[in-house]
């Protein structure tokens, strides 16, 4: 349903198209520079930073792939993202559902406030205590990071989901209860399906966070290179290859590539998912 202003004036249409075009240039311009320069040698880039490479030179890519444990890093990032999203899916909707349906009870009211307060806590407050707790529990590994992301996802997740569930009609749930469904069945068969749009929004937002996060992996996964995720890999290239900037561009592209591929494959669903969830959220 697209209910925009219909018969808008010509002036607005021209202005709008100019705005959008400039925006696209500003967004794709840097991408263009990254791509073309990643295929150049340092010498060629020195001669023309904006020009198209004369020949596709893959040596930067070959060196990057031979050097680092790139595939291992991609695998780690994927594993951590998927594992964390799984925890998000298990704990976020359940607790939000329980809160939304029992807001009048003290325990749930308190719980809601308890979790929402977290929205205001800057990460810096918990940075070091968190590292300490993780160390004491022997959780300085991808599994620990997954648990951590699960816990940290709760503030935003509960904030968005509780609002969403409260805005939902309860008739279907009541009908299901009369038919003899247990609370768990209602949750699983009815609610979970109804909150899907918001859940999709949440999963996309959280996935992007888990995939791109730098600080927590740096604090939690610094024991061995085998644990690294893409942002750490990327940042490390800053020290190793800073003088060789075409190589640096190659590393930027390789760091972005997996997520861009996933995005390109699913962009329709991602964009639709984000807008649908936000409508009522």
């Amino acid at each position: 349903m697209n209910v925009s202003i219909r018969k808008e004036g010509l002036g607005w249409r021209i202005l709008r198209n100019i705005i959008l075009l400039i925006g696209i240039i500003i967004i794709l311009g840097p991408m263009y520079l990254v791509i073309i320069n990643s295929f150049k040698t340092l010498e060629e880039a020195g001669k023309g930073f904006f020009s198209f490479p004369k020949a596709l030179n893959f040596s930067n890519y070959a060196e990057l792939l031979s050097k680092g444990n790139y595939w291992r890093v991609v695998w780690n990032t994927a594993l951590i993202t998927v594992g964390s999203v799984f925890i998000v899916l298990v704990i976020n909707p359940t607790v939000s559902y329980a809160i939304a349906r029992n807001r009048h009870k003290k325990y749930y009211k308190f719980l809601y406030l308890y979790i929402l307060l977290g929205l205001f806590v800057p990460f810096q407050v918990i940075m070091l205590p968190l590292t300490k707790i993780m160390t004491n529990m022997n959780l300085l590994n991808p599994f620990g990071l997954i648990l951590l992301y699960g816990a940290l996802s709760l503030t935003r997740g509960v904030f968005l989901l509780v609002n969403y569930i409260e805005g939902m009609p309860t008739e279907i749930e009541e009908a299901a209860r009369i038919d003899g469904c247990s609370t768990f069945q209602i949750y699983y068969l009815v609610t979970l399906r109804l909150i899907m749009p918001m859940l999709v929004t949440l999963i996309i937002m959280d996935s992007l966070w888990f995939w791109n996060d730098f600080m927590l992996p740096l604090l939690i996964l610094n024991k061995a290179k085998e644990f690294w995720t893409l942002p750490l890999f990327q940042y490390n290239f800053k020290t190793e290859y800073s003088f060789n900037y075409t190589m640096a561009f190659t590393s930027y592209l390789m760091a972005m590539l997996p997520i861009i591929v996933i995005y390109a494959a699913g962009q329709k669903y991602i964009i639709a998912g984000l807008t649908e969830g936000a409508i009522k959220g």
Partner: protein
């Protein structure tokens, strides 16, 4: 009776995993963090003393902290203004697009999927390798070197990079808000002869208020706690012109052996965010369609 009990226990069980994880990895950490702010722990010594509020008193008298708060304030204001206005304009433009709307939206969302570290590194290269040649060609003195090198422009440059990424998500949320406006209202407005601006002011805007609230809260928080962009692009310089509070906390905690002080700084940050969010939510509650 049993049914009732089962129902209640299911609800309760639903909250258990969340409570355990949240308490262990979040609430407990917050309490420990606040507790450290009342000590003199330097971060590595094996023992420390409780010193009451003296860290807070010292911060109150520390011009560096005040400067840093000021920089953070400027950063947040510029970020919020930039993100809100741009994402609203883009949302209106995108939403009225008839051809290629999905495709264009997809392009506009690209910055949101890339990590802040990568984005900062890319823009750093652009500032260094693209801006100076342009400045020399146009003979503009200020652009002879990377804007990041100039104490007057560095903060602005960092905010621009942050905006470049941060606009994407609010734009989508605004589009969602725009699509919740019933089309009959526009028809009515048009029949009554309302101008484009008036239609926006009296029809669209009230429906956007809830989404404005969401976008504002998120933008304010990310502005005040920002760290990644300034840290990667400038490290806080030149002459501390981009030394946002996030960087100050990080350096004090891990470099300057002032761990307890860093915690006091972040507790103050917590209070600032909480107060601002509270005011903001109160203000926007008054108007708007829910």
């Amino acid at each position: 009776m049993i049914g009732k009990f089962l129902e209640r226990s299911t609800y309760f069980l639903f909250t258990v995993p969340a409570i355990i994880l949240y308490t262990l990895f979040f609430a407990y950490a917050v309490i420990v963090g606040i507790q450290y702010s009342f000590t003199d722990w330097n971060g590595i010594s094996s023992s420390y003393n409780y010193v009451g509020f003296s860290n807070y008193v010292e911060l109150w008298n520390n011009p560096n902290f005040r400067d840093s708060l000021l920089v953070t304030g400027k950063y947040a204001v510029m970020l919020v203004a930039g993100v809100m206005s741009l994402s609203l304009i883009l949302a209106l433009s995108l939403n009225s697009l008839k051809k290629l709307q999905t495709f264009t939206k997809s392009i506009y969302f690209v910055p949101a999927i890339i990590s802040a570290v990568t984005i900062s590194l890319i823009w750093d290269q652009i500032f260094v390798r693209v801006i100076p040649p342009i400045g020399q060609a146009l003979n503009i003195m200020e652009l002879f070197q990377s804007p990041l090198a100039h104490p007057k422009y560095a903060l602005f440059a960092v905010v621009i990079v942050n905006i470049w990424q941060a606009v994407a998500l609010p734009t989508l949320i605004f589009i969602a808000g725009l699509q919740s406006v019933p089309s009959e209202l526009y028809e009515a407005g048009r029949i009554d002869g309302a101008s484009t601006f008036n239609r926006f002011r009296y029809i669209t805007f009230p429906f956007l208020i809830p989404t404005i609230t969401v976008n504002m809260v998120l933008a304010i928080k990310s502005g005040i706690t920002s760290f990644d962009y300034a840290y990667t692009l400038t490290g806080g310089g030149p002459i501390k012109s981009t030394n946002v509070i996030g960087i100050m906390i990080y350096n004090d905690a891990f470099q300057n052996l002032k761990f307890a002080m860093a915690n006091a700084e972040s507790v103050i940050l917590f209070i600032v965010i909480a107060v601002l969010s509270f005011i903001q939510i109160k203000l926007t509650r008054k108007g708007g369609v829910h």
